[in-house]
């Protein structure tokens, strides 16, 4: 194990796969000499040369087409978008071609391509450099959508994405690039489509991914004396690990989703629907996500729009405070603050 940043873990996965498989190529704008806008590919050009580390023009749809075509004809490209927002320029190649070719040709071809992109706000980058657009891709059959939350997951999931025979959209929250953690030295994979319980609990399941896993963990820590929160790191939003979600909420009876994308038609909505279809809930579902606005550049507005630890705590309290109150939550300070507490506990005693 080595302690490294999220950024270094991504690079390490790419280096391992470049060494292991000569069909792997890295493509993108300024990924060579410049080392990438977020320095993820720094040093790769010097080590692997311009045939494997390919600088591309600012022409996202054309370049995505080159990557899809190269994937169909035998290479395994990893294409970096400078910002996720710019994937909008390449939607035709990603969604109308890459996602469907294998299906349209009845499995006669495969499209082993990875579309990597930084996403998310919080830096005052404004409405066209801050978006979390994962729901667009989650809604497109044929694409896998992977979003790691830790350096180890970044390595294991990117390795799995590169080895996957289909197109994978691989999303990296900008706030995580400098996050440090222990990462296995050897190449390893985390199975795409598997979520993970990162903190066990009994009162409410919090489903999160990427940066929002850390909001959920911090909220769980602050609330631990009063509410026992089970944090699920989705890791992959397509395919979604529906079984793990259903099992977890089956146990806790409550669901809170935390996402960086806009709430309407977002990841949390799909998680909520999945759970509501199979679990009888003890209280209404709550969702915390980005307000339905273009990400503001202005700092106070951006803060107001994005999910935060405080918003997760407020939402968790709201659903756990519902009339179906759990019996075991009876801390003294709460009784003092809330005169209706005894009555609620009495009502919910079964």
């Amino acid at each position: 194990m080595t302690r490294m940043t999220f950024r270094e873990a991504l690079r390490s996965a790419m280096i391992d796969e470049l060494v292991r498989d000569n069909r792997v190529v890295i493509m993108g704008q300024d990924i060579g000499v410049y080392g990438g806008a977020f320095k993820v590919t720094q040093g790769l050009l010097e080590r692997f040369g311009p045939d494997r580390i390919i600088e591309t023009p600012i022409s996202e749809n054309s370049v995505a087409g080159v990557a899809v075509g190269a994937a169909v004809t035998g290479l395994r490209p990893v294409l970096e978008f400078m910002f996720m927002d710019f994937m909008a320029l390449a939607m035709d190649q990603i969604c109308n071609h890459g996602a469907k070719l294998s299906y349209m040709y009845n499995g006669q071809c495969h499209v082993p391509v990875v579309f990597r992109a930084p996403y998310g706000g919080g830096f005052g980058y404004g409405a066209s450099h801050s978006q979390a657009l994962e729901a667009w891709f989650m809604h497109t059959p044929g694409l896998k959508v992977v979003i790691p939350s830790t350096p180890a997951a970044a390595k294991g999931l990117l390795t799995a994405a590169i080895r996957d025979d289909g197109p994978v959209v691989f999303l990296e929250n900008k706030a995580l690039y400098n996050l440090e953690g222990q990462v296995p030295d050897e190449p390893f994979t985390i199975e795409i489509g598997t979520a993970q319980v990162v903190r066990a609990g009994s009162d409410v399941t919090v489903a999160a991914y990427g940066r929002t896993v850390w909001l959920a963990i911090e909220a769980a820590r602050r609330l631990e004396k009063r509410v026992s929160m089970e944090v699920v790191d989705l890791r992959t939003i397509a395919p979604l690990d529906r079984q793990l979600l259903v099992d977890s909420v089956g146990k806790t009876g409550r669901l809170l989703t935390v996402e960086d994308d806009c709430l309407t038609g977002g990841v949390g909505a799909e998680v909520a629907a999945t759970v509501a279809e199979s679990v009888t809930l003890a209280s209404p579902i709550a969702r915390v996500g980005c307000a339905d606005v273009p990400t503001p550049c202005c700092e106070p507005l951006e803060r107001a729009a994005l999910p935060s630890v405080d918003k997760v705590i407020a939402a968790a309290e709201r659903i756990v405070e519902s009339p179906d109150e759990l019996v075991h939550r009876d801390s003294e300070d709460r009784r003092e603050r809330d005169p209706s507490h005894r009555r609620r506990v009495a009502c919910s005693r079964r």
């Binding site: 410049y34 339905d292 507005l301 729009a305």
Partner: protein
């Protein structure tokens, strides 16, 4: 110069940069106006002064603005449909 403050401009030489600087379109426009247009040096200087004053004024007013209210988060996301 460059794409951002952190851009070391490794993709072009200093000579190339200087060659383009010598063709600064704003300076060329001034020369062209003096040469071919019906304007005097004084008029251009006055225009420049007015533009600078407008910019300074805008910056000053922006800094003096009260903090943005959270209630305005959703303003102009969609066109108003009227009352």
């Amino acid at each position: 110069l460059g794409h951002s403050k952190s851009d070391k401009c490794v993709y072009r030489t200093r000579e190339e940069e200087l060659a383009w600087l010598a063709r600064d379109p704003i300076k060329r426009c001034r020369r062209r106006l003096l040469q071919d247009g019906d304007v005097t040096e004084t008029e251009i200087d006055e225009l420049q002064r007015r533009v600078q004053a407008e910019i300074d004024d805008a910056a000053e007013r922006a800094l003096a603005c009260p903090p943005v209210l959270e209630e305005t988060l959703h303003d102009y996301v969609a066109a108003s449909t009227g009352a």
